[in-house]
Symmetry: C2
Subunit: 365 residues, 2 copies
C-alpha cells in the first residue's frame, strides 16, 4: 500500500473509494482522502494540513511564526486532538477547550468567546475541531453553527466523525450530521460503527489536491505516475496495512442498505435502554444520548461514595454476570458506559443487565 | 491494543518483548519501547521524544523556542526523517543533509562541519539520525563515530535501524551494528528482514520512563494500572493492530538461531550476486553492499541514455522474464535494485537473472 508500483489495484481502489466517501459526506467534486491505521493518525493528518494551509507554512516550520497558533475543540473531545498538537509542535497547552453543554455538545457561545479571547491575547487561531460522536457519550456537536463560526473567523473546520460518521448511511439519523458537508476535513473510522476489523480509518479533504500540495513529501525511490499519487507520499504513514480491502469487501457484502438496517437496530436498542434506565429512580444518565453510546450510573450525593459504588457495580457485572461495561471518567467522575453496537444484542439481554443492576442495588448493605 | 483493560495480555507481552529487544540491541536496563504500524511512525515518535527532551518542551511548543531547531541525517536517509520534521513543526527544510561517501555511508567529517555551521548560524541542533540499512543500498552508517559526535555536541542519537536492525541476530555480521548500543533511540521493523507480515514496527528508547515523561498524553477514559501504562497513551497511534502477536509467534517458531540462518543465507546470496555483477564489465555496482540490498546498472557514459537503458532493462526483466527488480533514483540516476531476502532464492535463480541481463545487453541494437 506504499506505492502504486507495489500495489496498483489497492492504491486505485483506495483513491476511488475515498472520493465516494467524501461525496457521501456531502463534500463537493475535487474532494477525496486517504486511509490510515486509526483515528489518531487521521486527526493528526487533518490538523497538519490545516496548520500548513492556514499558517502558510508548507514546510511546517512553527518556529518561524510570529504568533502562537491555537486550536479549538470541546472539553469532551478526543485526546488525539491534544496528542496531535503535541506532535505538531503547536503544544498540548495550546488546544483551547470550549465548554460543552449538558448533552456534552460544544457551546457555540463559548466558542466565540474563546476565539475572541485568543485573538485579544495576540495568538493566532487556525482550526476548530468539532466532534460527531464523542468518545464517552457519543454526542454530536452542532456542526452547522460551528461551520458558520469557522467561516466567520476564517478557521479550518475539521470534523472528528471517527465514531458518528457511520450515520451517513442512516436515513433516519443522518440529519444529526447536518453541516458536516461544510467541513474542510473529516476523519471517520469504519473500524467502529461500520463493523470493519481494526485498523481501518480515513481522513477526507474538501480540496484533495490542496491537501497534497500542503502535505506531500516526495520519496526518491518512488516513481511518479499519472492520476494516482503514491499513498506513502501523502499520508502520515509510509507502509500501511491494506485497510481499503476490508472496507470495500464489507460494502460489497452488506451494502448501504445493510448498514442502514444495522444502525437503525442500534437506535431501537438505545431507546429500549434509555427507557429502562429512566424508569429506575436510582439511576441517572450522563446525557440525552445522540447515538448508541450511553453513559449512566447509580446516583449518590457523595461524590467519592458514588465513584466507589459504580466501580463495585462494574466489577460485579464483569466478574459475576459476564457483562463488560466500561468505566470512563466524565466530568471528573466514574460513569458506566455501554455501546449498543453488537447486532446480536436483544431486548432480553438488556433486560437481564438491568435485572442484575437491580439485584446489586437491592443487596447493598 | 489501546489499553490494558481491553487487551491485558498483549499489552504486557508488548512491554516485555520490547524490553528484550532493547537488551538485544545492547541498551541498558531501564530501556524499552512500543510497537507501531510502520517505520515512519517509529521514526516520528523517536524524533518527537528527542525534540521534547532536548529542547525542554514537554508540551511540544516549537513556537516558543528562541532558536530554530535542526536535525542532521545523511543525504541518503529515509524520507520519513523529513516527513517527521514536517509533521513536528521543525520544518522539512531544517533537516540538514550530511554528505554520504561512495558506499552511501554518512561522512563524519561533513557531519561535524554541518553541526558547526548550524551553530554559527544561531540554530539549535538537537538530534542526529544515523541509518543502519539505507532504503536504496542497504548501507550502514559508522554508528560508533556518530555516537561520539552526538555525545560531544549533546545531541539526541537516533538510529534508524528499520532495515538493518535484524543483524542483532547475526553472529557473523552483528559487528556492523557496533555503536548502536549508544543510541538514545532505535527504530526497527520486524516487517522487513524478520519476515513478519506488514505492519510490524518498533521504537526503542534507552530511557523508557524518560520517553513516557516526554511523550505521554493521558486519556480520561483509560484507567491507570500499576506497572503497565496504556499503550494508547504512549504511542503516536491510539488504536493499533496487535503487531506484537505476529512478532512473538515468529520468534517462537523460528527462534534466534532460525533468524541467524536466514540472515546468513542472504549474505551468501549477496556474495554470489556481487561476484556475478563484478565479472561483467558492462555492469557497475552503486556501492559495496553492507547487506543484502544491492543496486547495480548497465553503465553508459551518457546520463540520459544510461537512465533509459536501465529502464528498458527493468521493463524487459518484468514483462518478459518474470523478474521484478525495483528502480530507485540514487544520486539522481536510475539504478536497478534487488533485495536478496526471499529464503527460496537459489544460486540458479541468480544465474538465470544474469543470463537474461546478458541476453538483453547482447541484443541491444
Amino acid at each position: 500500500m506504499l506505492s502504486l508500483e507495489m500495489s496498483p489495484l489497492l492504491t486505485q481502489l483506495e483513491n476511488n473509494l475515498m472520493s465516494q466517501f467524501a461525496n457521501l459526506f456531502g463534500l463537493p467534486s475535487g474532494s477525496g482522502g486517504v486511509m490510515l491505521s486509526g483515528g489518531t493518525l487521521a486527526n493528526l493528518q487533518a490538523l497538519v494540513v490545516a496548520r500548513n494551509n492556514k499558517l502558510k507554512i508548507k514546510d511546517g516550520n512553527v518556529y518561524s511564526l510570529l504568533q502562537q497558533p491555537v486550536v479549538f475543540t470541546s472539553d469532551v473531545a478526543h485526546v488525539s486532538v491534544v496528542k496531535s498538537c503535541m506532535l505538531m509542535g503547536i503544544g498540548s497547552s495550546n488546544v483551547v477547550k470550549v465548554k460543552s453543554n449538558q448533552n456534552a455538545q460544544m457551546c457555540v457561545d463559548d466558542l466565540i468567546l474563546k476565539i475572541d479571547e485568543q485573538i485579544k491575547l495576540g495568538n493566532i487561531p487556525f482550526a476548530i475541531v468539532a466532534t460527531a460522536g464523542t468518545t464517552i457519550t457519543g454526542s454530536i456537536d452542532p456542526l452547522n453553527e460551528i461551520a458558520n463560526i469557522a467561516k466567520r473567523f476564517n478557521l479550518w473546520f475539521h470534523v472528528d466523525a471517527i465514531y458518528g460518521g457511520a450515520l451517513i448511511f442512516s436515513v433516519e439519523h443522518k440529519i444529526l450530521l447536518n453541516g458536516i458537508e461544510l467541513a474542510d476535513s473529516i476523519s471517520f473510522n469504519p473500524q467502529k460503527w461500520l463493523y470493519v476489523a481494526k485498523t481501518c480509518s480515513m481522513v477526507l479533504f474538501r480540496d484533495f489536491s490542496g491537501m497534497v500540495d500542503n502535505f506531500r513529501i516526495t520519496a526518491p525511490y518512488m516513481k511518479d505516475q499519472e492520476h494516482f499519487i503514491n499513498l506513502g507520499e501523502i499520508t502520515v504513514q509510509g507502509s500501511k496495512y491494506a485497510e481499503v480491502l476490508k472496507l470495500w469487501l464489507s460494502l460489497l457484502g452488506l451494502g448501504i442498505s445493510g448498514y442502514q438496517q444495522l444502525i437503525l437496530h442500534c437506535y431501537v436498542l438505545r431507546d429500549v435502554f434509555v427507557d429502562k434506565a429512566a424508569c429506575r429512580k436510582y439511576l441517572e444518565l450522563a446525557t440525552n444520548p445522540d447515538t448508541n453510546v450511553i453513559c449512566f450510573r447509580i446516583m449518590n450525593s457523595d461524590a467519592d461514595q458514588c465513584d466507589l459504588l459504580n466501580e463495585q457495580l462494574q466489577s460485579y457485572l464483569l466478574r459475576q454476570c459476564g457483562f463488560f461495561v466500561s468505566m470512563p471518567k466524565f466530568k471528573g467522575q466514574n460513569w458506566l458506559r455501554v455501546v449498543l453496537i453488537n447486532p446480536f444484542i436483544t431486548d432480553e439481554i438488556i433486560d437481564e443487565l438491568f435485572t442484575k443492576i437491580d439485584w446489586f442495588v437491592q443487596n447493598l448493605n
